[in-house]
């Protein structure tokens, strides 16, 4: 893991993508997240919207963009459930903000680092979701931590495959 100096960070350009990639990738993640569990016999051990949020937040190196993207994805996911709208939104807002903040400080070209960031933020997102639901809202909900750990691992594996593919769509100067 290589921490970068401020001058080097300024020199590094922010990654840019075609508008179609910005629009379609999050949308595809949301649709697939809702559709794929039907093929996987109900197992939902992945969170594609979170993976996409982390990717763009890291690549854009912008906490604000990460925050906005995370909030949008989370609210959208909440709207597809029967739960209160905003629980996932808060969790992914924080995850996007942290990913954007970390992106300023680390080498986001390194696959291992990006995978580790995805793993940690996936777990953190689960913790925030559970905390908001149980503590902030005071609602009862059983929780399976093993499933959340499994989800973090699967998210990391997806990130290992998906991030290089998305890198190829990057606009090069």
């Amino acid at each position: 893991m290589s921490l970068l100096s401020a001058d080097y960070r300024r020199d590094m350009g922010v990654h840019k993508y075609p508008l179609l990639v910005y629009a379609l990738t999050p949308l595809a993640a949301l649709v697939l997240q809702a559709w794929l569990p039907r093929l996987a016999h109900g197992y939902t051990w992945f969170d594609l919207p979170l993976v996409v949020t982390v990717y763009f937040a890291l690549a854009r190196r912008s906490p604000i963009e990460g925050t906005l993207l995370g909030a949008g994805m989370g609210l959208f996911e909440d709207a597809l459930t029967q739960h209160a709208i905003g629980v996932n939104g808060i969790a992914k807002t924080v995850a996007g903000f942290l990913a954007g903040s970390v992106g300023v400080r680390i080498d986001v070209e390194n696959h291992t680092i990006r995978t580790m960031v995805t793993f940690v933020l996936s777990l953190l997102s689960s913790v925030i979701y559970f905390s908001v639901y149980r503590i902030l809202l005071g609602l009862s909900m059983e929780w399976n931590w093993l499933a959340e750990l499994m989800k973090a691992v699967v998210n990391s594996l997806i990130a290992m495959v998906l991030f290089p593919l998305l890198d190829r769509t990057r606009v090069r100067d």
Binding site: V31, W35, L36, P63, I85, I90
Partner: protein, 430 residues
């Protein structure tokens, strides 16, 4: 001041968005009378609008994916199915006939049940009308066991309609959109369905746990509840009609929060993890629907035809038995009541002329005479001496009372009873 906003703009944006979401959450949660927080069962207009937008974005691609997958799968399966379709069709037709007969036999019980329920001022609802729909998507979250179907308000679906499959109940409609609907599955933690255990008649509420298994909660400890017992809908929740299959008891575990209570884990009858086609019960009636009544009328007709067929088959079987009796004299029961006294045989009770009337004797076929053995012994028919003038019954049957058949005894007063023989020729007099 300007530098403050510029310097902390990232953090300020984060806080602003978090605050907005927290306020939005606070508006969706209510504190109940019991002091516990709960979500509004009915979404506020703003929340419903967000759900509507999300559904409008996700549902069309999901329908397209689903249709494509179904097209590919069904094209392949159609080819495979066509290979044995004729045999399957015949088997299915037989099954339909059999089921119709069973249904007709159950009709009287059902009608009687209706009358009794009317006496008890309880009306059972029967499924009147259903709407088939395809499951097209999920919520995409483990903590929310909902799925989406491709029919909505355009097919007159409404909130709280029951969703079932051929195997058992699946859930209830929670939200209806113009062209799709959200269904809350029975294994969600926020669902609730009134159920009853078939054998022990214990009632409870079914809801999901964290692992996505349906469980019956709030039941007092009961040793009679065993794995394998069937679980049915109780009908008290006004959503699911009574008597629909829910699943079977998988195991019984202690309630972690309350002593002397148990949770009954249920293995659902419907395959909740791979739902494809479901039925939404759009209407229920207190009486049998016309279609079902028509089916029952057909069943009655079929039943009559089948009864005639069975009688004919029995007649043919009887004729065949008679022919066989003619051709196989050695198998003829030597102690059977004589029907032809003129042929020289002795009636079973040893008194000639009491076995049959002369007219019957004339009509009956001649019974062949038994061949005489070359070396008779004590086992030879007619060689054994009667014990005290009576036939001894086999062990275990000596004190057995005669079965109540409702038929009059054939022996006349002053005549010995015609006791069944112990073995061939056991009571035949020489």
């Amino acid at each position: 001041m300007e530098s403050f906003f510029v310097r902390y703009r990232n953090l300020l944006v984060l806080l602003a968005i978090l605050l907005a979401q927290i306020i939005g959450l606070a508006m969706q949660v209510r504190r109940g009378d019991s002091g516990r927080n709960s979500l509004d069962p009915q979404d506020a207009p703003g929340v419903r609008l967000l759900r509507l937008w999300a559904d409008a974005v996700v549902a069309p691609p999901e329908k397209a994916f689903h249709a494509t997958r179904l097209g590919v799968v069904s094209a392949w399966q159609d080819y495979l199915d066509l290979r044995h379709v004729r045999e399957q069709n015949e088997d299915l037709q037989k099954t339909i006939d059999r089921l119709r007969l069973e249904q007709a036999s159950l009709l009287e019980d059902a009608k009687q049940g209706e009358r009794l329920q009317a006496l008890m001022d309880f009306q059972q609802k029967y499924i009147y009308k259903t709407q088939a729909a395809q499951a097209i998507g999920t919520s995409g979250s483990d903590s929310s066991r909902v799925f989406y179907i491709d029919k909505g308000a355009d097919y007159k679906l409404e909130r709280d309609m029951a969703v079932i499959t051929a195997d058992g109940i699946a859930g209830k409609v929670r939200e209806v959109f113009p062209h799709s609907a959200q269904v809350l599955a029975i294994n969600d933690q926020t669902s609730g369905a009134g159920v009853i255990l078939e054998t022990t008649r214990v009632r409870g509420i079914l809801r999901g746990n964290a692992a996505g298994q349906p469980q019956i909660v709030g039941i007092l400890k009961d040793d009679r509840i065993k794995p394998g017992e069937k679980v049915l809908t109780a009908g008290g929740d006004l959503i699911f009609p009574r008597g629909l299959p829910v699943g079977v008891v998988e195991k019984v575990v202690a309630d972690p929060e309350r002593d002397s209570f148990i949770d009954v884990i249920v293995r659902p009858a419907a395959h909740l993890d791979r739902l494809d086609e479901v039925l939404v019960i759009t209407s229920t009636e207190a009486h049998f629907p016309p279609e079902q009544q028509q089916d029952m009328a057909t069943s009655e007709l079929l039943k009559g035809a089948q009864a005639a067929a069975i009688a004919e088959a029995a007649l043919e079987q009887k004729k065949a038995a008679e022919v066989m009796a003619e051709r196989l004299p050695g198998l003829t029961e030597p102690n059977a009541p004589a029907t032809t006294p003129a042929a020289g045989t002795t009636p079973a009770n040893g008194q000639p002329g009491t076995g049959a009337t002369p007219a019957a004797a004339a009509a009956a076929p001649p019974v062949p005479k038994l061949l005489q053995p070359q070396h008779p012994d004590r086992f030879t028919p007619g060689a054994g001496a009667p014990l005290g003038g009576e036939t001894r019954a086999p062990a275990g049957q000596e004190k057995k009372p005669a079965p109540k058949t409702g038929l009059k005894p054939q022996s006349k007063p002053g005549q010995k009873a015609n006791v069944p023989p112990t073995h061939a020729g056991g009571n035949t007099q020489p």
